[in-house]
């Protein structure tokens, strides 16, 4: 099934979830590694170029994901979840979306602080608007760094919660994220 129903995630939502998850962990690892590259490393220019290119593309994917979420049915929470679990899950999901957007925005503000555009794999340029607030590159850089740590921590919590449902509660919360239905 391509689209969601009230009890099941369709292929599009499932794919979007795992694509975004994979991209975020890859970008985090790449970012964590690239900031300490030495000047003569052959990756010194390539790694940030890929990081920025993938980040911009991911922004497109996330925007599509949010629109998709708005305009299609979202499956109801698994019935066996407690009220507090449902609330915490909802809060975590919303926070993950917010963090993604803030991290991508802050990343954009670092690289465009002098008005330079961001090239996406040389396919197209995203224009820059220059310095919108003082010390933009440094401040946006701090936000980018700490929110990245935050989203990784929060997503690990999100994953731990899913594993708890799978192995301890033995419900179908995690299976559902692979497109499975209740039975």
């Amino acid at each position: 099934m391509l689209t969601n129903s009230s009890s099941q995630y369709g292929i599009i939502s499932v794919s979007l979830h795992w694509l975004v998850a994979l991209s975020i962990y890859s970008l985090f690892a790449l970012g964590y590694w690239m900031v300490d590259l030495t000047y003569y490393s052959s990756w010194y220019r390539t790694a940030p170029y890929w990081h920025k290119s993938v980040g911009i593309l991911l922004f497109g994917v996330v925007v599509f994901r949010l629109l998709w979420r708005c305009y299609t049915t979202t499956p109801s929470p698994v019935a066996s979840h407690s009220v507090i679990e449902k609330r915490l899950a909802k809060l975590t999901h919303n926070l993950l979306y917010l963090l993604m957007l803030l991290i991508m925005l802050s990343g954009y503000l670092i690289s465009t602080a002098d008005g330079r555009p961001i090239s996406v794999f040389g396919w197209f340029n995203v224009p820059g608007f220059g310095e919108i607030f003082p010390q933009q590159a440094d401040r946006a850089g701090l936000v980018h760094k700490y929110l990245a740590y935050f989203i990784i921590a929060l997503s690990l919590l999100h994953a731990l919660a899913a594993l708890k449902h799978h192995f301890i509660d033995k419900d179908f919360t995690l299976k559902r994220m692979f497109g499975r239905s209740a039975r």
Partner: protein, 189 residues
């Protein structure tokens, strides 16, 4: 203790006003520049500058040896025309501006050379490290300006090793020395 401070203040004030004329560096009109260059890979020059600094000097052509200059540079104002590079330059790899927001130069000695040239000795504090440097300086000119003031202008160059100031990021074998290029125009107070 109070007397001592008063005496120090008085002697400082008198030494400032005694002989040479005092000038304020014209940063308001941006007729002063603190620029640097460093080799890129050994193939070309990278130029940058500090946009925010302030200072004053005293100067008298007849008593050159009594001249002095004090300069305070806001290290966060480094500008190499590339925001990502400037961010890196402000980081702990280079200028460490959050820990060392100011760089200073305080002259200690002036030695006249031929013509309008002279050697300006002083202490440069950068990245929290203070070292003596010698600036090869030259007076470019002095005289009345068209707006009722009196100005004097100087240019000077010096160079130092980045590692002497605790900056150890490896930019390659050709890029260990940074060249400073200063131009100051002062308005007589």
């Amino acid at each position: 203790m109070k007397k001592l401070i008063l005496a120090a203040a008085l002697s400082a004030a008198s030494s400032m006003t005694a002989n040479a004329a005092d000038y304020k560096i014209d940063t308001d009109g941006a007729h002063a520049f603190v620029q640097f260059k460093i080799s890129h890979l050994g193939y070309s020059w990278l130029y940058g500058r500090f946009n925010t600094f302030d200072g004053q000097f005293s100067y008298d052509a007849a008593k050159l040896a009594e001249s002095e200059i004090n300069l305070v540079i806001d290290t966060a104002s480094v500008d190499s025309n590339h925001a990502e590079r400037d961010k890196h330059l402000r980081s702990g790899d280079f200028l460490n501006v959050s820990k060392h927001p100011k760089a200073t130069f305080n002259s200690t000695k002036v030695v006249a050379k031929e013509g309008d040239k002279f050697d300006l000795y002083g202490n440069l504090t950068l990245n929290g490290v203070t070292k003596e440097v010698v600036i090869n300086a030259e007076k470019l000119g002095e005289g009345s300006d068209p707006w009722g003031g009196y100005r004097a202008g100087f240019a000077g160059t010096t160079s130092f090793e980045l590692k002497d100031f605790g900056i150890n990021y490896d930019l390659g074998p050709a890029s260990s020395t940074v060249y400073l290029d200063l131009t100051v125009e002062g308005i007589r107070l």
